[in-house]
Each structure stands twice: as C-alpha cells, then as structure tokens.
C-alpha cells in the first residue's frame, strides 16, 4: 500500500521547520562555542557584539532562570558552559539578532579567554586516566576462565570502529514562540517529551507551560533523539527571555561540527574454539569514546553488551565495557545504538580465528548460530529463533559456497582485480533496554463527518510510522485510509512520550492506536445494537465503511453511524495507553528479559577490490530478513535498503577525523563522504522471511528500523577477503572504516595504516 506522505514528498509540499512561514518579529539565534577542547574559562566578553547592528542580545548561563542542565540519564551536561569547556563546539553564549547572518557575523566580536589544557581524544587514554562516564559494566555467562583450557585454538586481538555522522538531510532546527507565560516550540526532534522536560527545567517552568510540536523530521537516525534538545532549548530560552519568536537552524557545516556522532569504539577480545570450530569462550573489553558528557552513552554501551555475541550461542562469555570521557562533542544515538560496534568485534574475532583454523569464516558462523532456547549472556532465552532458518534460506537462495568458488576462479584469472565475499548474520533485540520507556499512548478522535484524527508519541522521520498507524486504524474501523490522518506529534495531545527510537515507534504506538480504536469500535457496536436490531455486539461487524448485522444483512454506513452516535451524545474520542508486557532487566546482576523479541537475518556481501589503486566497489548485498509479517512491505523494504547502505557507509568510506586538538577535520559533506548513487551496489536483494511475530509487535510484524544496518558490517570482511586473495600474508587490522587509503596501505603492509 502506497504511503501518502510520499505524495507530498514528490511534489515538494511536505513542510519542514525551515519551510514554515515565520511570525513577524521573529529573531534568530546562534551560538558562540568553545574553540578549545579542554580548559578553564577565564573571561567571556561580548560587549562589542552587543553593539553590532541587528544584534538584540547575548545570553550566557547567567541568564538561565532554571537549571543549566541538558543531561537526561546523567546530569553532566550544561546547556551553556559555566567555568570549564570540555569540547570544541561547546556552547558558551547565545547570540540573538534580526537575521541568521548577523548572529553568525557577531561571533568574531566575542572574546573568550580560556586556559587551555591538553585534551583527551582517545578512549583508552581516558580509561587509563580513570575518566569514566559511569562505573564499568560486566555481563557474564558460564565461566570463561575455566573454558580456555578446553579450547584448541585461542585468538586475541584489538578491534577499532570509527564514528559516523548522521547526515540527516534536514539539519538541527527549532522555532520557539512565546505564549502567555509559556512557550510553544516547533522542534525537529525524535523526543518531544525530552525537549519539553529539559526546556521546562532550564526555564524553571512547569512542563505544562512548554508545548512541543513536531510535524516531521528530514531524517533522524538517532541524531535527533537526544541532540535536538539543545537547539530547541536554545530557541526556547531565547524566546522566553526576549518574549519574541526565535528560530535557530544550523548549516550543514555547523551541524557536523557541533553535534555528536556514532560512538567510536576500541576493543580487545579473546576467543577460544575447539578444533570443530565451536566457540567455547569469548572475553571482550569495550572502550567506548563517549565524548565530553554522558548523553545516551551508557544506554548505548549497554546495547553493545547485549549484542556482543551477535547471533551466536557462546556458552562462556565475559564482556566488560567502559564508557570513556573524552574531549569531543558528546557522542550519541545512531541507528543500531551500540549494537553494530559490538557485532563488529565478534565478527572480527571469528574472522581472525577462521584464518588461524584455516577455514572459511562462514563455517564457524554457521556452526555457532543460536538455537531455540539458547541463553544470551544477559539471561534471556532465544524464543521463536530463526537464525538457522534465515541462514539456510540465504544459503539456498544465494548459494554462497558456489559464489565462493566463482570468486576463487575470478581471482585466479585476474591479477590486480580481486573479489571477496562475506556472510553476515544478525540478531537484534527489540525494546528500549530501559524497560520504563516501553510505553506509548494514542488519542483517537472521530469527527462528525466520519474522518479520524490520531495523535500519538510517534515522530515521523521518513520511516513511515504514520502510514503504519493509519493502516492499523483503517483496518480496525474498516474505513478508507484517506479518512485517517495522523496529527503532529504534540506534547499537549500525547504526554510523557518515549523517544521515537530503538525501532519501536510502530510497535509501541501501533499497539496504543489498536487499543484505542478497538475501544471505539466496541462502543460504536454497543450503540448500533438497537439501530440494527442485533441480539448482541458479536452479531455486528465493522466492514467496508459500514457497520453490518451479520445475521440480518442490514447495515449502516460509517459516516451515518458516526453522526447518529454524535446525536446520541456518544463519546467519539478515546485515549489508550500501551506498555510492553514481560520485559525487565536487573542491573544488579545484569540478567533479565530486556527484549520483547529478536529480529534475525543473514546477508551475503560481495565486493571487488582494485588492488593496484586500492579502490573497491560493492557488487552485491543479498539478504534474507525476518520482517515478521510485514504490515507494509513497500515501507519495510525501503527501510531495509536504506539501513544496509548506512551500514556499508560506516564500514567503508564514512570517516570522521579530528586533529590533535580535538577539532573535527571531516566537517563538511565535501570532506565527509556518504554513499552516493554510484556507491549503491548493482544488486541489492532482500528476501522476506515470513515469520509471524506473536510477541508485543503490531499485527504480527517486526521492527525494521535498525536491524538491517548491521548487514553492512559484512562489507569489511568481504574487502578483507579480497585483499587476502591478492596477498595472503596481509595483516588485517580490524580497523573500520576500510577506506581506500587503508586498503592500499594494508596491501603494502605499512605499519602506519
């Protein structure tokens, strides 16, 4: 079923924050930020800036009426720096002026003296200096120490994965309008309630004085889960102080400079196998580069732990994780939320072990796939587990043993051009791992003409959640989908919402919509019992725009039913709340049942490396993916394709670089390259594994947002395998992304790459 939002998109009529006409008197805000990664603030002088034409005010932390705090999990992040700075780009002052240019021009008239200290950029260095965001966390299963002696092969190594810039095409933006002592903020956020709560704290106002409204996002990918808040709060503070509407919208360059990325990780592992290739023990240490403050880092690190064994059963596991404080902008959520970083390490370990055992990595992968009932290191059991089903379906559809032979033949014939392949199974848990967040509400109004308006906490950012919610309501009411509209996400209609994140938007909000619609449907049936002379409501059915007495065949049209119900003073509105059942996690022992269910799948990736020039192309990605029973295959397929491309980008060309002072170098789209149309593999095939899901999803579907991203991890190993067939002794560094530079330098065997 086509998504009506797409009609607006192709005609350019969908509106984003920057497309909404500004109220007269609107001022613009920008931030003066720290040019130094670490130091003490000696003096901040903005008097010259205040004198510039067009400049209306400059605000510092002293102008904050409430608490100067952005942190949600850990309260360690001021909105505006007070005595110290901790990263380049940390906001120190808000400049307010007549247009977006004068506030930017004013920056060079602000003088800031900072006593500079040596920054920490590397997570291992932060670890050595005990700069940790939170105490270390350990997950354990079995007994690794006892298991090593059972192993025939033990491999150790270090693995690095880089950061990743979100490049949501719409940059961070917010527009705040003062309203009778409170404010209304139009924000491009995945977390309207977080914006509301944090801004209320900053302004020292009750939450009901802050209304947050979200129409749609021009992409989010996690980058607007926690980090849209700062920009909304800045607009909110400025408009509250000035009592005028205030807008802030970042340029691409500013957005890349000032906002956090996917967390880079540095990790150490030790893996032990028997001669059959069974993994007996796995020990791993994750050093997460959190940046200067917590943001969502601890939750992200926890998900790294949850996914540290990917889709494998390993009887003895010990995983320890450190969230390390460095002097970079706070890193944040990015599709996969720490999961991909954990999976890259286990896949690297398997790849290296395979090389030592002299077998193909897929032999080890296949041998260790999860079985029904297997226990994850966090205590949950694999239920309705289709890791084997997906793997063998992939093997049947895209015979990878045959492909491997074809590649060998190609590689014998071609001297400088080498192909490589890798198989990448995934297993990804669905639910917020903070169980509290797994709740949602829906408010459904039926208007007297029969049209329906639905408000939930779900934010539409391209993932198609609005369409899915409409489908849920249309199917329960059995009315044309065009009668159903999803309203903006607004804190006055959906209160205390969870972020639209963790791939749960459709699950949580869909269930709430289902509940509210079912209640309304029931109520309408009760009302219609007399009208249709039915014995009871079981005799009645909503079907094809009417309510039908299945016994007599008589019916009333939906529109008439609604109008008559209204005349009889029947409530045509309903609010419902949904909470995912049976999930919990005990952090004192790090065991529990954190996920409603898991998503599985297997992909085969093939690449071609030009070993003369060190460049490569990704020929194909073919995946068998567990969609549950998809509500909307068109949306889900598009989600999977997009996620895969982001995963491929993370593993190959997306490279975040900083200088030794902590200043980002890859600070524009000309210096930070994301996959373009030419990068897209010639073949991208996604096979739906039908696997109706009974647990806590909507209409037996499965969450789709994040899991397919992790197929992209296979690209690293496919490139590695191609290089190895050029030169067997090449030392694979397990240091992603595998840029053309690293390809060429590792072929050469340079120690510096």
């Amino acid at each position: 079923m086509k998504n009506d939002d797409w009609v607006k998109h192709v005609t350019g009529t969908s509106k984003f924050i920057n497309d909404v006409p500004l109220l007269s008197g609107t001022l613009h805000a920008f931030v003066f930020t720290s040019p130094i990664a670490k130091g003490k603030i000696i003096d901040l002088n903005y008097f010259k800036a205040l004198e510039l034409s067009g400049i209306k005010n400059v605000l510092t932390y002293k102008d904050i009426p409430g608490v100067n705090q952005l942190g949600t999990i850990i309260k360690d992040e001021p909105l505006l720096a007070e005595n110290e700075v901790h990263f380049i780009g940390q906001p120190l002052a808000i400049i307010i002026g007549e247009d977006e240019h004068c506030v930017r021009n004013a920056i060079k008239f602000i003088e800031c003296k900072i006593e500079e200290e040596a920054p920490i950029l590397d997570p291992r260095e932060a670890f050595r200096k005990n700069e940790l965001i939170a105490p270390p966390v350990t997950f354990a299963l079995g007994n690794v120490d006892a298991a090593w002696k059972e192993c025939d092969v033990i491999v150790e190594g270090a693995v690095n994965s880089g950061g990743q810039e979100h490049v949501y095409l719409e940059t961070q933006s917010a527009y705040s309008v003062p309203l009778e002592g409170g404010i209304k903020i139009y924000s491009s956020t995945q977390s309207p309630t977080a914006v509301q709560r944090v801004t209320a704290g900053i302004l020292n106002l009750p939450m009901h004085k802050i209304e947050v409204d979200v129409l749609r996002l021009g992409g989010g990918f996690g980058g607007k889960e926690d980090q849209a808040t700062v920009w909304a709060a800045i607009a909110g503070l400025a408009s509250y102080v000035m009592q005028t509407p205030v807008k802030i919208s970042l340029s691409r360059h500013e957005d890349i400079m000032l906002t956090g990325k996917r967390h880079p990780y540095s990790s150490d592992y030790k893996i032990g196998l028997n001669s059959e290739g069974e993994i007996l023990a796995y020990e791993v240490y994750f050093y997460q580069n959190a940046g200067a403050s917590a943001d969502l880092s601890t939750a992200i690190l926890e998900r790294t732990m949850f996914h540290c064994t990917n889709s494998y059963f390993i009887p003895n596991v010990k995983a320890t994780a450190y969230s390390c404080r460095t002097n970079l902008p706070p890193n944040t959520a990015f599709r996969g939320f720490g999961g991909p970083q954990g999976m890259f390490v286990i896949e690297s370990a398997i790849h290296k072990a395979a090389s030592k055992l002299n077998v193909e990595p897929c032999i080890i992968q296949e041998k260790n796939l999860l079985n029904e009932g297997d226990e994850f290191p966090y205590g949950q059991k694999a239920v309705n587990c289709v890791s084997h089903k997906a793997w063998f379906k992939a093997k049947e559809l895209f015979p990878f043993e045959k492909l491997s032979e074809e590649i060998s033949l190609f590689n014998i014939k071609n001297k400088l051009l080498k192909k490589g392949m890798a198989v990448m199974p995934i297993c990804f848990g669905i639910s917020f791992t903070n169980a509290m967040l797994n709740q949602a509400s829906a408010l459904v109004h039926i208007y007297t003409d029969g049209s329906v308006g639905i408000s939930t906490g779900a934010v539409e950012m391209g993932q198609g959640v609005n369409m899915k919610l409409r489908q849920v309501a249309a199917s329960i009411f059995s009315i044309n989908i065009n009668k159903i509209k999803i309203e903006t996400t607004n804190t006055t209609r959906a209160a205390n919402t969870s972020p639209t994140a963790a791939s749960t938007g459709a699950d949580l909000n869909g269930n709430a919509v289902e509940k509210a619609c079912n209640t309304l449907a029931e109520r309408l049936k009760h009302f219609a019992v007399n009208l249709l002379k039915a014995k009871d409501i079981d005799q009645l059915k909503l079907k094809d725009e009417q309510i039908l007495n299945t016994q007599t065949g008589t019916s009333i049209l939906w529109d008439d039913l609604i109008l008559q119900a209204y005349f009889k003073r029947i409530d045509l509105s309903e609010h419902a709340h949904y909470a995912t059942p049976k999930i919990y996690f005990d952090r004192t022992i790090n065991k529990g049942n954190p996920f409603a269910y898991h998503v599985y799948g297997t992909a085969v990736i093939q690449v071609e490396v030009d070993c003369l020039r060190g460049v490569y192309k990704i020929n194909s990605v073919k995946a068998v993916h567990d969609f549950g029973k998809s509500i909307n295959p068109a949306i889900d397929k598009s989600q999977a394709e997009g996620a895969i491309m982001q995963g491929l980008g993370w593993m190959t060309l997306e490279e975040i670089r900083h200088d030794s002072r902590g200043k980002i170098l890859s600070d524009t789209l000309s210096a930070y390259k994301v996959p373009d149309v030419h990068f897209t593999p010639e073949v991208l095939e996604i096979e739906f594994l039908e696997n109706p899901n009974k647990s806590a999803a909507i209409f037996n579907s499965k969450a789709i947002g994040e899991p397919p991203l992790m197929y992209g991890i296979g690209a690293y190993f496919a490139i590695a395998n191609a290089i190895k067939s050029f030169r067997q002794e090449v030392d694979i560094l397990y240091d992603a992304p595998f840029t053309p530079e690293k390809v060429l330098m590792s072929i050469l065997g340079s120690p510096n790459c």
Partner: protein, 471 residues
C-alpha cells in the same frame, strides 16, 4: 538594473543584489519551499532547480545547485522549481517514485524529481547510465538510492523520446504527463525578453569576479551575497571552443559540461566524458568553468591536471591588453599564481596533439565518484611501438600546486616501456613531489598512490607488458 526571468510560469522582476543565491531568492522572496538547503556546497542536490536558456531556437534546460548560483545567472532565463513541475495529479515521474517507495523523509525528494525531469528535458543520451549520472549530484540518506534507481529505470522503460526534435520532445513530455503544458509557451516568452543585459565585461571596478561560483560560493558565500559590486562572467561567445592555426582555444567561461560534450575536445581526448564524470556531479559541471578550475588553484584541480600535460597557455586580459602565461609556470605556491588582481583569465589554448598519442587520466578519492581526489594524475604520451617519444605527466594532491612532473617526464622520454622503467620513473616522481598529510590521506599514502597511478597509466596503455607486474 533589474533582473528579469521566468520562474515556473510567472514573470519575475527584481532589484535584489545579483549575487544573492538563487536558492535564497526562491525560498525567501518567491516563497517556494520545495527546494531545500541541505549543505550549501553542492554536495547534496536538495536545492536543485532547472535553468532553461534559449540557444539556437530551442531551450536547453540544465540542472543546477541553486545554493551556489547567483541570482544574476537566472537573468533572461526560465527557472523551474518542483512547484513548477506539479500537475493537477502526480506527474509520471512522481507516480513512479511513489510506486517504488523512492522517498522516505522527503527532504531530498524534490531535488531528485527536478534533476530527473531535467534529464528527460535535455539529455542527448537517454541511457540508464546517463540517467543515473543525472541524479548523481543528489544525496538521499534514507533510501540509499536503490529504490530511486529502480524508479528511474522504470520511467525510462515507459518513456520513448529518442529521435525527437526539441519541440516534439517538449510536446511529447507534456503528453506523457511529465511536465505541465505551460512549458510549451516558455520559448515565446523568453524570446520576448530584451537581449540579456551585460552584467558582465565592462565593470572595471568590480571587487569580485565570479565564473561558475561553485567553489567561491562554498568558501565565501556569505561575503559574496553581500558584495554589491560584483563582476559575473556570464556571457561567452558562440565559438566558445575553437581550433585556429592548429591551436585549440577554450573560452575560460566554458562550463565543464560543455567542455566534455564538445566535439572538438572529444576528438582530442576521446575519454573526456569519463573524465568529466569523475570531475563532479552534473549540476556542478553545468556551472563550474574551465577558467574557474584553473584560477581556483586547488592542488587537485581536475581540469588543470589535464591542461598541464597538453602544455596549455593561459591568456589574460586587462583593460584591452593581453598577456600569455604557460600553465606549467602559472602556480607559485598554495593558491598563489602569476596574475595581477585586475587581470581576468579570458581563455586557454594548447596545440592540438597529433600522431600516435594517448591521454590517460587517473583519480583516486575516498568515494569513487564525486569526491575530491586524494591524488590525481594525467599522462600525455606519444609512443612508437613501445618506445616513448614524448611524455608529460601531471600530478595533483601531492604538492601545494598542481604540478607537471618534469623530471619524471624527461626520464621517460626515449625509453622503452617496461615495468622496470615505469617503476624507476615512479621513484623519480616521488622525489619531485611533497605531499602533506591531511583529510584526503597521509603523505605516505599519497606517495604510494601516485606511484600506483603512474603504473596504472602504463598498464592501461600496454596491458600486455604488465601481465606479470609485481606490486
């Protein structure tokens, strides 16, 4: 003087500064918000619009990045935004995009629709590859482009417009529900415009000269839009590329796209199209100029890399007087060159090569396409059997300036091509260059890369001599 143009189906007249970006004008003054600001550096294409220009009795539509285009460039032309492509119901292109799910968040989508419509309006070659090239300047972070490619292939299957005259094609596109009917009247309207006013040439006091502006607007966009007194190179003569006395003259204001489509250039450098595709996206090639690429003085300038091995000469004009400088002597240091502030690069020429020559271009960047090179190099070579009778090799990204590898070229001249000779040449090249470590790669990498790319030139030329090559 006012700027006049047609935007979609409306006549626009404005006294806004000619250096205002077209994007700002469209969004803020005309209130058309379908074109978006995604990056303001020509990398994402969310701001794409079409500019139609009357040439030889027909309108040629080109996709451009409106964020890097001065308003003045619209003067006397037809500007088309997504709003100007909307019909009562969805156009065929829009329908297929919806059907294939080729949109997610929708921010980039109008840019894709505009760019692909531009392709159907004006492309000579309607192949799938050219179609994909036409949208290669558009980034979609959500879909990963696969569904967009699917949509485009499907549309190409449905649209048969080969071998039609320009007027017939326009009519056919209207009939196919791809563009609105008003397009048929635009030609008359453009003809009725007075001859384009010279916003160019005579403005001697201009504080700034812009050719395409594709890099200037990235680097100094804010400053430029505030320049009241600006010289914009808009007008070029009809004979923008010509041969005279066995020399090929290229007007400095010729765009890269026109350069690569020129029959004269194609005859000299048959692979120019592949070269151009690596140079930049179509909207950039439609604006960026040969002269701009030279004067921008980037160490990895792609056109310069080619012109260096053709031993090109630059012609500067200065209030009527003319001066010539060899391109290989032009650059003096990073972004420094032998040019007086008041001089303007008017054209470039080189001797048309003859004999058994080859031109090979190599470029490696982090992303294979549409990225700034880590290292690029061009080789011009004349061989007699396997003996090198003349050779010039240029290298970019390995020194503060784009350079001609003079010693390397001298060494190779007169030698028989062999793996050993080429490797020796590469080690001479290594002594000529001074790469630095930066975002495009470490010095060591660039050193190695140039070595490999020189080898690549010869492997392409004589694969049979390098079958046993060792790396």
């Amino acid at each position: 003087m006012n700027i006049q143009f047609i935007c979609n189906n409306a006549l626009i007249e404005t006294d806004q500064s000619p250096s205002t970006t077209l994007l700002d004008f469209i969004r803020k003054e005309l209130k058309y918000t379908g074109a978006k600001e995604g990056c303001r550096e020509g990398d994402c294409g969310a701001c794409a619009v079409l500019i139609g220009e009357l040439k030889n009795d027909k309108i040629i539509y080109k996709t451009i990045n409106s964020c890097l285009t001065p308003l003045a460039a619209a003067n006397g032309k037809h500007v088309v935004t997504i709003e100007g492509l909307n019909l009562y119901e969805l156009s065929l292109i829009q329908q297929v995009f919806v059907r294939e799910g080729a949109a997610q968040c929708g921010f980039c989508t109008p840019g894709f629709i505009v760019a692909f419509t531009g392709f159907l309006l004006s492309s000579y070659n309607l192949s799938v590859d050219e179609a994909i090239d036409s949208i290669a300047g558009n980034l979609c972070r959500c879909t990963g482009h696969y569904s967009i490619i699917r949509a485009i292939k499907n549309i190409l299957d449905e649209v048969q417009i080969n071998n039609l005259s320009s007027a017939q094609r326009l009519k056919k596109l209207v009939d196919l529900n791809i563009i609105p009917e008003y397009f048929l009247n635009i030609k008359n309207k453009l003809e009725s415009f007075k001859k384009e006013q010279p916003l160019t040439e005579t403005n001697d006091d201009a504080s700034f000269t812009i050719a395409g502006g594709t890099d200037l607007y990235v680097q100094q966009g804010y400053k430029l839009t505030r320049e009241k007194n600006i010289l914009i190179h808009l007008k070029i003569s009809d004979e923008s590329i010509r041969i005279s006395d066995n020399n090929c003259f290229i007007n400095a204001a010729v765009t890269i796209e026109d350069f690569s489509n020129s029959e004269i250039i194609k005859a000299i450098f048959p692979n120019v199209k592949e070269f151009a595709n690596l140079f930049g996206s179509l909207p950039i090639r439609n604006r960026a100029t040969v002269g701009g690429n030279i004067i921008n003085a980037s160490p990895i300038a792609d056109i310069t890399s080619l012109l260096l091995v053709l031993d090109a000469v630059l012609i500067f004009s200065n209030k009527g007087s003319v001066r010539e400088v060899k391109l290989s002597d032009f650059y003096k240091g990073y972004k420094q060159f032998d040019k007086l502030p008041e001089e303007i690069l008017s054209s470039v020429y080189f001797e048309v090569p003859s004999g058994n020559y080859n031109i090979s271009y190599e470029k490696v960047s982090k992303r294979l396409h549409l990225d700034i090179a880590s290292v690029n190099t061009t080789m011009f070579i004349i061989t007699d059997d396997n003996r090198i009778s003349a050779v010039r090799i240029s290298a970019g990204g390995v020194a503060p300036i784009p350079m001609l590898l003079k010693k390397t070229s001298v060494f190779l001249t007169g030698k028989q091509i062999s793996e050993e000779t080429v490797k020796e040449a590469s080690s001479i090249a290594a002594e000529e260059i001074k790469p630095i470590s930066d975002i495009r790669g470490s010095a060591q990498y660039k050193m190695l890369l140039l070595n490999r790319l020189i080898l690549a030139h010869f492997i392409k030329l004589h694969p049979e001599l390098f079958e046993e090559v060792t790396l």
